[in-house]
């Protein structure tokens, strides 16, 4: 009559609160952003790959309701009396409204003083970090987009062209089919072989040759029957299936140029690395298909991978134009402007061979800037600017929309400058 049902719900989703959680984050975006900004300045470079613990003053997020305040006359019943008798009078604790023996009310308001703390994931961290930012001058280069496709693996199919046969899958199927179809015969075969052996072991007087012959014949028949099963059949065949996917038309390439010469101190490099790291994560986040080229230079430039770019050391003098020239070459070779949006960011401490700065200016003005969407330059130095900065100022004057430059003095500047350079432009 009275029934209980036991239900296993563990396989149901555990993210029932996801929507409410997102609503909460959305509502307190301002607070969270502030916390994220602070966190970026405090974090080490290798530290961007995880979430963050966020604190918001409880005052700001409380849900108000009518309740009793302090004051008035109250009678409160408490447990655990030890020495009190009726009529005792106890002085209230001085200074502060803290009700020693408080009721629920008092503990509620006590709790209200604390900050409300919770964690956000790495994804959310980055989302808050990079909100409202975008790559400037993103032009849709869709000349080639119509006939640009990639083929992606999309499972298996049982029809297809011979070139697409998946050998392993097909043989697996064949094997399974052979096992399935020959099961009865092979079981009998085993039986026959066992009987044969038994019979042959018997004393010659008891041995029945007729039976042996019969068994031998059956054995042969079974073996041919099993042998007749085709090793591979048409319906065993499996083909790789590929799906045609259009290439996204927003192909973009980002050049990161950094000075790693002897004049760059470790601290300067750290700041530069942070800037690029921010940039790199930003790109990876905003654009699914994006190439990044890392070029570091001292007197000569070298294209390196991400790991080497951030974590290897070199010394020597400085010739900035070597990096610019290399970038120019790479653009020509691999990134035709008809198909790619080209962005570049350069970090340096401002040191350069004096003779080289005009060359840089010429390179930028004549060959690089006409083909790039945006070129940003950060100079990490507390000192006065040198020739390179002044040369770049000229560049900025002639290409105000494509060229931006900022100075960074210490770590605290990185994020504000980054935001400034990549702020979403309101048009």
């Amino acid at each position: 009559m009275m029934n209980s049902y036991v239900i296993d719900r563990r396989l149901n989703g555990k993210n029932k609160s996801a929507v409410n959680r997102r609503r909460f984050l959305e509502r307190y975006k301002k607070h969270i952003k502030r916390a994220v900004n602070d966190a970026v300045n405090k974090r080490s470079i290798t530290d961007m790959e995880h979430g963050e613990s966020i604190s918001i003053p409880s005052e700001d997020i409380r849900e108000p309701s009518f309740g009793h305040g302090q004051g008035g006359r109250r009678t409160i019943v408490n447990p655990g009396n030890k020495e009190f008798v009726s009529g005792d009078r106890i002085a209230k604790p001085q200074g502060g409204s803290g009700q020693g023996g408080g009721d629920g009310q008092a503990s509620d308001s006590g709790e209200g003083m604390d900050d409300f703390t919770f964690s956000i994931t790495q994804d959310e961290f980055l989302e808050f970090l990079f909100e409202d930012l975008e790559l400037p001058n993103l032009v849709r280069k869709d000349l080639k987009s119509m006939d640009d496709f990639v083929y992606r693996h999309a499972g298996y199919t049982n029809t297809g062209v011979p070139a697409k046969i998946n050998v392993v899958r097909s043989l697996k199927n064949a094997h399974a089919r052979r096992i399935a179809l020959s099961g009865k015969s092979r079981r009998r075969l085993k039986e026959v072989i066992r009987l044969l052996a038994e019979e042959e072991e018997k004393d010659s007087a008891l041995r029945s040759t007729a039976l042996i012959d019969e068994l031998l014949e059956e054995k042969l028949k079974l073996e041919t029957k099993i042998g007749r099963l085709p090793f591979i059949d048409d319906f065993d065949l499996r083909y790789n299936l590929s799906a045609k996917e259009p290439m996204p038309s927003n192909a973009a390439v980002m050049f990161c140029l950094m000075d790693v010469s002897g004049s760059m101190t470790q601290a300067t490099k750290d700041i530069a690395k942070r800037f690029f790291l921010l940039l790199y994560m930003f790109l990876r986040r905003n654009y699914e298909k994006i190439d990044v080229v890392f070029i570091r230079h001292h007197t000569s430039a070298k294209e390196v991978d991400e790991e080497e770019f951030f974590y290897s050391r070199e010394t020597g003098g400085t010739i900035v134009s070597s990096a610019l020239r290399m970038m120019d070459d790479i653009v020509r070779e691999r990134y035709p402007t008809s198909a790619w949006n080209i962005y570049a960011a350069q970090a340096s401490d401002g040191d350069n061979w004096n003779d080289d700065s005009p060359i840089c200016q010429k390179l930028l003005e004549q060959s690089i800037l006409p083909s790039v969407q945006y070129f940003s330059y950060i100079e990490i130095t507390p000192r006065d600017h040198q020739a390179l900065w002044h040369a770049y100022e000229n560049v900025q004057a002639s290409f105000p929309n494509q060229f931006a430059m900022e100075q960074i003095v210490d770590q605290g500047d990185i994020y504000p400058v980054f935001r400034q350079l990549f702020q979403r432009k309101v048009t």
Binding site: N3, S4, Y5, V6, I7, D8, R9, R10, N12, K14, N15, K16, S17, V19, N20, R21, R22, R23, F24, L25, R27, I61, R62, E63, P64, S65, F66, G67, H68, G69, Q70, G71, G72, R73, R74, T75, I76, V77, N78, P79, G80, N81, F84, V85, S86, G87, D88, R89, I90, A91, K92, G100, G101, D103, G104, S107, F116, T117, F118, S119
Partner: protein, 522 residues
């Protein structure tokens, strides 16, 4: 409360299991045995739906107050983050169970629990709470267990629909404001109409139109000569003070759109569903604790569980009903589990082993059938009256209850009464009063609407022992203002004297008052 483990009286059965691991078969077997014993004790329950969930899912359940479906709102997200943070940092353990008042009665069991814990939870939630939900008069009056899930689904769909049509933000604003008033969404003395999702859905559109029509009538702006005359006669609207603020707003707020009224109604209806819970905490938790204790002991007596099982059970049981003394750093008020458990246990003791004191204090209980007495006590009271009726001198002595009087104007606390002969009655009344809803929440009612003038709404706060409102009051008034759409006033009275006035939006008094002062002195 001392707990002794005596050897089984009549070991007629083999233990169901000696393992501490739970399996589905064992849970079913335990449920079957516990259910059978519960019926011997006349526990009348809704069918049970026992759901095994993970700790993550428990956190989800937590943040929606156990409601299996709920509309979306940021405050539930906040609750979730808070639970998650506290749990992951080890500041709190998760409750072993959550149970909600519905038919079937849904109880959540965490997969991390041992078999003994699962058995405790089944006894506590599926037979203790469940029978309370089904038989206590407040729950019978205020909630319809068979309809609640459907209603929650309706509410969720309706809110989502509004979000699609009017935007998340617009919906959120109304819900925020309603949540601020959700404790003021019940008529305490009127019996509510039962919730029915099907009816709600069917009538909702009809109601929208009808409601709007009514509101329009009330706010018709061209007064006729006849009405002017009426106006003198019927100066006040509402005629009687209204304690159900949300209901009044739903029916009378001049500017709300029909869908906004429906949202007010949804928050009101759901708050109403939780209303009995707020008033029967001691009774409900005490009842469930008393029964998990009694059922487990009966199982042990009959040999269904062994000593190891009982030790684990008793250790959990004693931490559940532990009451830290007032001067402990763990003290955060009276533990409702302890108080309730002690009162029910003492009721049984008075029936079975009465003393002279009991004969003097509870002549109508002594010697009666203990099951009759306990069921009657569970069915017909709420915390306030339950304590007033049944808190015995023995329980007061055991818990060493004492009564502290705190007057804001005095530099000292005064011990008014303790657990001794002259003090029992006073301690008991004071404790009962502590569970009186108007002691816990300020008494605020709507007393006036200025129908022909600025359409302002006036609330009256009647102070209890001159206790003022908290500092969130103005924030709440901002929400009332959002719902009402015109000026809102709140007057706080101590007796007949108006002690403080609030106004939303804040009054520009500084300009008027000095000029009056000035005139007076000219």
């Amino acid at each position: 409360m001392s707990i002794e483990l005596t050897s089984p009286k009549d070991p007629r059965h083999e233990p169901i299991t000696t393992s501490s691991e739970w399996t589905f078969e064992r849970i079913q077997e335990f449920d079957r045995i516990i259910g059978a014993i519960a019926r011997e004790y006349r526990l009348d329950t809704y069918p049970n739906q026992i759901e095994i969930i993970s700790s993550e899912q428990m956190m989800d359940a937590y943040s929606s107050v156990g409601m299996p479906v709920g509309y979306h709102h940021w405050s539930f997200g906040k609750q979730f983050l808070q639970t998650q943070n506290n749990y992951e940092r080890g500041f709190m353990g998760l409750a072993y169970e959550i149970v909600i008042n519905s038919s079937p009665c849904i109880a959540y069991l965490m997969e991390e629990n041992t078999m003994a814990m699962q058995a405790l939870v089944i006894a506590h939630a599926c037979y203790g709470h469940n029978s309370f939900f089904k038989n206590n008069y407040l729950f019978k009056t205020w909630t319809d267990a068979t309809a609640i899930i459907d209603y929650l689904v309706f509410a969720k769909d309706y809110v989502a629909q509004c979000e699609n049509r009017y935007g998340v933000e617009a919906v959120e604003k109304i819900l925020d404001s309603c949540h601020a008033l959700q404790n003021y969404g019940v008529d305490r003395y009127k019996r509510p109409a039962p919730i029915s999702a099907a009816e709600e859905r069917a009538r909702q559109e009809e109601r929208e139109q009808y409601l709007q029509q009514q509101v329009n009538l009330l706010w018709r702006t061209i007064p006729t000569a006849r009405e002017e005359a009426d106006q003198v006669k019927r100066a006040r609207f509402p005629e009687e003070p209204q304690e159900n603020l949300l209901y009044f707003i739903e029916k009378n707020a001049p500017l709300l759109e029909p869908w906004q009224r429906e949202l007010v109604r949804i928050v009101r209806k759901i708050a109403q569903y939780f209303y009995p819970q707020r008033q029967t905490q001691v009774m409900n938790e005490g009842w469930a604790s008393f029964w998990h204790y009694t059922l487990m002991n009966t199982m042990y007596d009959r040999g269904y569980v062994n000593e190891a099982f009982m030790f684990e059970f008793l250790s959990s049981h004693s931490s559940v009903i532990y009451q830290p003394p007032y001067d402990s750093k763990y003290y955060s008020g009276i533990n409702p589990y302890t108080l309730g458990f002690n009162i029910y246990s003492d009721l049984r003791r008075m029936c079975e082993h009465p003393t002279d004191e009991d004969r003097e204090w509870f002549p109508e209980i002594v010697g009666r059938d203990w099951l009759d007495t306990l069921h009657f006590a569970m069915e017909n009271f709420k915390d306030e009256s339950f304590i007033q009726q049944y808190l015995s001198p023995k329980v007061m002595r055991d818990m060493k209850l004492f009564c502290v009087y705190d007057d804001q104007d005095s530099p000292e606390y005064e011990i008014r009464a303790i657990h001794d002969d002259p003090g029992y009655r006073q301690v008991r009344s004071a404790l009962a009063d502590q569970y009186n809803l108007s002691t816990r929440e300020p008494n605020i009612q709507i007393v006036d609407v200025n129908l022909r003038g600025d359409r302002s709404l006036t609330l009256k706060h009647t102070r209890h022992n001159n206790i003022p409102l908290n500092n969130e009051c103005e924030e709440v008034l901002r929400h009332v203002h959002r719902l009402w759409g015109f000026d809102v006033r709140l007057e706080s009275y101590d007796g007949d004297e108006c002690v403080k006035r609030y106004r939303m939006p804040p009054e520009a008094t500084s300009a008027e008052e000095p000029s009056l002062e000035h005139l007076r002195y000219v």
